[in-house]
């Protein structure tokens, strides 16, 4: 065997290792910088403290955790039914020529940089909520108030952003349901609609769940668009129209402002984010495996 083969193999291996090593390096860095404050300040104080005011020495990340969760949940509540519906439409209902137009359009939606969505949200959605939504809400609750920078705005924009992920992954899952299932159901006298809801969607559920989890990851991780439209208010929100700040937004905004303690607190926020995403990924692969095995 020619001599350089071994050398090449080692080079290739090194490249593969570099990719992995960077993960460990990133993890190491974040934990090294962030863990001390978690210890010093107390994990529960950090996780459940309601005041985030680093200059005053308060590092309670709870408002941001709730902020991240609330915009993400909101995005899922809007985006998941829409996304799955579009996926069903593409895979089962739409005639070919519509699929040909609609699918690339959805893919385009995925490619648009998130700041463009943020910009759209800032210039259209935020005023819209203040001017048109608020009066409606005020009819029910006269005390309601919003500047427009809100969970609602963030959730809507994030919903649009995760829509393509959900549509694409779900559509693939639905398309890969064996046609025999569909035929079996149709031949029993089930309508197309019944076949979709009772046979096809259940059979595709692991893929659909995966799409939701992926979308969720994207929503939790989004940063700049969210800074532009949620108002960045580190306060536990009381309603959908309240402003919130998110984990990612806080890191991005305050990263430079680094008294050493403050910077560590931001890394600790990074740890939370990191764990959150890990948890999501593990649940995702977990459910996929469990459902796939059945």
């Amino acid at each position: 065997m020619k001599k350089y083969e071994k050398i090449i193999e080692s080079i290739l291996l090194i490249c593969a290792v570099v990719a992995t090593l960077s993960v460990f390096l990133i993890t190491l860095f974040i934990f090294k910088e962030g863990l001390p404050i978690l210890k010093e300040y107390g994990i529960t104080n950090f996780l459940f403290g309601k005041t985030w005011s680093p200059t005053n020495g308060y590092y309670g990340a709870f408002p941001m955790i709730i902020g991240s969760i609330s915009v993400t949940l909101g995005a899922l509540i809007i985006g998941v039914p829409m996304g799955i519906t579009c996926a069903v439409f593409l895979a089962e209902i739409a005639p070919k020529h519509i699929v040909k137009v609609f699918k690339p359009a959805i893919e385009l939606l995925a490619g648009i940089p998130s700041v463009v969505y943020g910009f759209f949200g800032l210039s259209i959605l935020v005023p819209f909520i203040r001017i048109h939504i608020l009066p409606i809400v005020q009819k029910l609750n006269p005390d309601a108030y919003t500047s427009g920078y809100s969970i609602l705005a963030g959730a809507i924009i994030l919903a649009v952003m995760i829509l393509p992920t959900i549509v694409n992954v779900s559509e693939n899952a639905i398309r890969s349901v064996p046609v025999e299932y569909k035929q079996g159901s149709i031949a029993l006298g089930a309508s197309h609609f019944e076949t979709i809801t009772k046979v096809i969607i259940p059979a595709a559920r692991s893929g659909i769940i995966a799409s939701v989890v992926l979308g969720m990851g994207r929503a939790v991780g989004e940063t700049m668009a969210v800074i532009l439209i949620t108002g960045n208010m580190p306060k536990v929100p009381g309603s959908l129209l309240d402003s919130v700040s998110t984990l990612t937004g806080t890191i991005a905004m305050e990263m430079g402002y680094a008294t050493p303690m403050h910077q560590k607190a931001l890394f600790a926020t990074g740890i939370i984010l990191f764990m959150f995403i890990m948890l999501l990924n593990i649940t995702a692969t977990g459910t996929m495996k469990r459902l796939g095995a059945k």
Binding site: T55, G57, R130, G231, N232, M233, P234, G256, Y257, A258
Partner: protein, 267 residues
């Protein structure tokens, strides 16, 4: 206080022979001024590139300390805790902080006490200060902003607590925006908003209110009648390169003509 202790560069390095790159980072209030100064400087020395970017005053301090920028910019005085880094400070200008509201807001004048109460959340409706019956949208800067630091100190939003520790009492119901420009834009687009920005950044999209009856103008700030002012600082650490020296020298002398246009010169 003014602590311009940098040795003035005496001998002029021959014109046009300077070349290289200067990176300035930090305060978003200083940023527009730096941009203009840099533009003129680069015209003079075409071989020099001056890169200006924002981030906020603390980024300015940090980047000077870590030497990731040649010059850090800050829109507040250096804190006690930052003194130990051994930074060299140059006061390049003074600036007032304008308290701005939406142009449609009919409130014209606020006292320092009212401003303090609005920003600490004690006053939450414009009618309490002579405006419409409308909830106030407070817009503040992020933690670590120089403008915020100076503002809360002067307006007493920041207080000493029992242990003598300074505590920033800015209401938690404030929207937070990460730059002077973002605050301005938020106030411009939100009818009930109030915020504070560098006086040099004020334009007709927002309306500065009088503070204690004094209009927010450079003259008043210079005269000391307008109370909310702070210095603009350039920070360096260790030995400065030729071009950095030349640039700072330029800013402190010829540059002051440019400073005068929107800010208060230090000459």
């Amino acid at each position: 206080g003014c602590t311009s202790n940098g040795e003035p560069v005496q001998e002029k390095t021959g014109e046009n022979t300077l070349s290289g790159k200067i990176v300035i980072a930090g305060s978003t209030s200083v940023q527009p001024l730096s941009e203009e100064l840099a533009a003129v400087f680069m015209e003079k020395y075409p071989e020099v590139a001056v890169e200006v970017q924002g981030g906020g005053s603390s980024v300015g301090v940090k980047s000077a300390v870590d030497k990731i920028a040649d010059i850090g910019a800050a829109s507040r005085e250096i804190k006690e805790s930052e003194k130990e880094f051994g930074l060299t400070e140059y006061v390049i200008a003074k600036d007032g902080i304008a308290v701005v509201v939406n142009p449609f807001n009919e409130v014209e004048d606020l006292t320092l006490e009212q401003i303090k109460k609005i920003f600490t959340g004690e006053i939450t409706n414009w009618k309490e200060v002579g405006g419409k019956d409308q909830a106030i949208t407070v817009v503040s800067r992020e933690e670590g902003s120089g403008t915020r630091g100076a503002f809360v100190e002067i307006t007493k939003v920041q207080k000493k607590d029992a242990e003598g520790k300074k505590v920033d009492k800015t209401t938690v119901n404030a929207l937070v925006q990460p730059s002077t420009g973002a605050v301005k834009q938020t106030v411009a687009n939100t009818p009930a908003a109030i915020g504070y920005i560098s006086m040099g950044a004020v334009d007709d999209t927002v309306k500065p209110v009088k503070v204690e009856g004094v209009e927010a103008t450079e003259e008043n700030a210079k005269a000391g009648t307008y109370k909310i002012t702070r210095p603009f600082l350039y920070l360096t650490k260790g030995d400065e390169s030729e071009i950095v020296k030349a640039y700072i020298e330029f800013v402190l002398n010829e540059g002051q003509e440019i400073v005068k246009e929107e800010f208060i010169s230090v000459k």
